[in-house]
């Protein structure tokens, strides 16, 4: 009985001494800076890769930007410093959100030619094109199927894709235009790819951080695509890409390159192979960062994009003649 009574007294004491509580710095200029630096240091998944690839030294970044801090800084000044620090990562999946602004680095497409004229693309679609959920499509004059998918955030079902492919079944080939598609839902990327393979294919690998160290990754896991139970496309496919193909679209391009009869045409994709997670700073600002990297089937990084099989740029002379250089080249190749 005495043991029970002692236990009764000890229980709350045990809990007091073993609290799992917040371990974040205070809500000050320095505290928010340290919190952000630490989130990236412990959870960002490309620090080692970017140290090798672009010479990023995250400890040196800390030193350099800490020198720019002053306790009297206002929110706007702090935001500017923090955004510049995050820009060192050169990652479109890294953002800082305040109530008034979004810190970003969009150099992955802003620094390159767009290779897309939306109004010109709309001319190819005309006004009588069909719409299946997020897919817009039609049969071009030379019996080539043309499908535009502008965002992987647009809902997509296997039934939609089967209906589209059934409509285009008499076409000689298919152009899948994902230029300007900056990503969205990864499961839509997987779903669409499933209609372009007859067998289970290895498309890449993925991993994630298991701990706070820069190299604390889980064993990479193979990613496979299973063939769809719906209609599967059996003819040649050309995917049109540009630098705006980012995140889930980058993954889609990676997946499609593993499918038979598929070629990519246009510019390198924008990249963004780290699935982003969210966190926050003591002052309530939200931060997004890449947490879970994806690789191609050769275990190569695709964070900075995927080279096209057939490089091609939009020619301004063609645009003047209301011709999209990429679409025209794809049509010519599919007719061969």
């Amino acid at each position: 009985m005495k043991v029970l009574l002692r236990l009764l007294v000890l229980l709350p004491l045990m809990l007091l001494t073993a609290c799992v509580d917040e371990e974040i710095p205070d809500n000050s200029v320095r505290g928010n800076f340290e919190a952000l630096w630490q989130i990236i240091d412990q959870r960002y998944c490309f620090l080692d890769y970017k140290a090798d690839h672009i010479g990023l030294d995250w400890n040196e970044v800390h030193q350099r930007y800490a020198n720019r801090l002053a306790p009297s800084m206002n929110n706007s000044q702090l935001f500017e410093v923090l955004c510049e620090m995050l820009s060192e990562l050169q990652d479109g999946h890294v953002n800082l959100y305040t109530g008034a602004d979004v810190g970003r680095n969009w150099s992955w497409y802003e620094d390159y030619p767009r290779n897309l004229d939306v109004s010109l693309r709309d001319e190819y679609l005309g006004t009588d094109y069909k719409i299946a959920s997020g897919l817009r499509y039609r049969i071009l004059d030379d019996n080539i199927g043309y499908v535009v998918y502008e965002s992987f955030s647009s809902a997509l079902g296997s039934g939609n894709i089967s209906d589209v492919l059934h409509y285009l079944r008499t076409c000689q080939g298919l152009i899948l235009d994902v230029r300007g598609n900056t990503g969205g839902n990864l499961s839509n990327a997987t779903l669409l790819t499933e209609h372009f393979t007859n067998e289970k294919i290895l498309v890449g690998y993925t991993t994630y951080k298991r701990g706070t160290g820069h190299s604390d990754f889980a064993q990479p896991q193979a990613e496979y695509i299973q063939p769809s139970k719906g209609i599967r496309w059996q003819k040649p496919v050309i995917i049109l890409t540009n630098r705006e193909c980012y995140s889930a679209t980058n993954t889609f391009v990676r997946n499609m390159r593993a499918c038979p009869g598929v070629r990519t045409l246009g510019d390198q994709t924008g990249g963004g192979s780290g699935m982003p997670f969210n966190s926050e700073l003591p002052n309530g600002w939200a931060v997004r960062f890449s947490a879970s990297p994806q690789f191609d089937s050769q275990m190569q990084q695709i964070e900075f994009g995927i080279q096209p099989d057939i490089p091609c740029s939009l020619d301004s002379a063609d645009v003047a003649r209301h011709r999209d250089t990429l679409i025209e080249l794809a049509r010519a190749l599919l007719k061969q």
Partner: protein, 267 residues
Amino acid sequence: MTNTYMRCLCLCLLSAITFGLHAQHQRPSTRVLLFGLGRSSQYDTYLSPSAYKGPALTILSETRRQLLRNEHVVYQSRIEGMVTNTENHAETANQMAGDLTYASAWLRQWSPLWQGLTLMAGGQLRAHAGFLYNTRNGNNPAQGYADIQSALTVIGQQQFHIRRQTLSVCYQAALPVIGGMFTPRYGQSYYNIFSQGHYDHNIVCTHPGNALSLHQTLTFDIPVRHATVRVAYQSDLRQAHVAGLRQHHYTRAGLIGYVRNINLWRN
């Protein structure tokens, strides 16, 4: 032949009913239903390094009865539910949480121990499921909880009299000692676990060294005419430090409800 079977079946049923009535006669049970309001602190580094705090609504249903075979053994079952909407320090984001716990306990009873004091101690099995949803996050918007724990539990109950009324104060504490819980790894997404099917030791063993938790209830029973009103204070402190993730879920609430003593077969 068929008639013989039917007779046997009827006999069995009658025996079972008689046994059941006898059992009820021997087993007065206490049923309690309480509703509460309190404060909750939700902290899970999978979603945010900050603790979110806010109001919580709780419900607690409890049944307690003596076992038929041994009057010194008491069986207790509890169902606890909680919903909360919490906010971060800066009031820029919300987290919603909900959980449900079912607990069954078997306790040895020492009664009366000393001037109306009853003590009980025993083991408890706890099954818990819940979620925490951060309205602002993208690919890590929510965390799911599922765990089974075996716990040590103690109950101290003191009866006393004021103006010919019998009042009762009761304190119960439960300390989980070993169990298992589901958790994603440090940076593992739910997409990776469920869509891609990558299991990575997502069920972990828990013990006071990595998940020291404590569930306490203090109740005060007040007779009001022919009924009994129960006023209670509940402190539910759940913690875990597993798979590189840290979490706490503290809920403290005041509750009020009624007590029903059920005795189907009168003495």
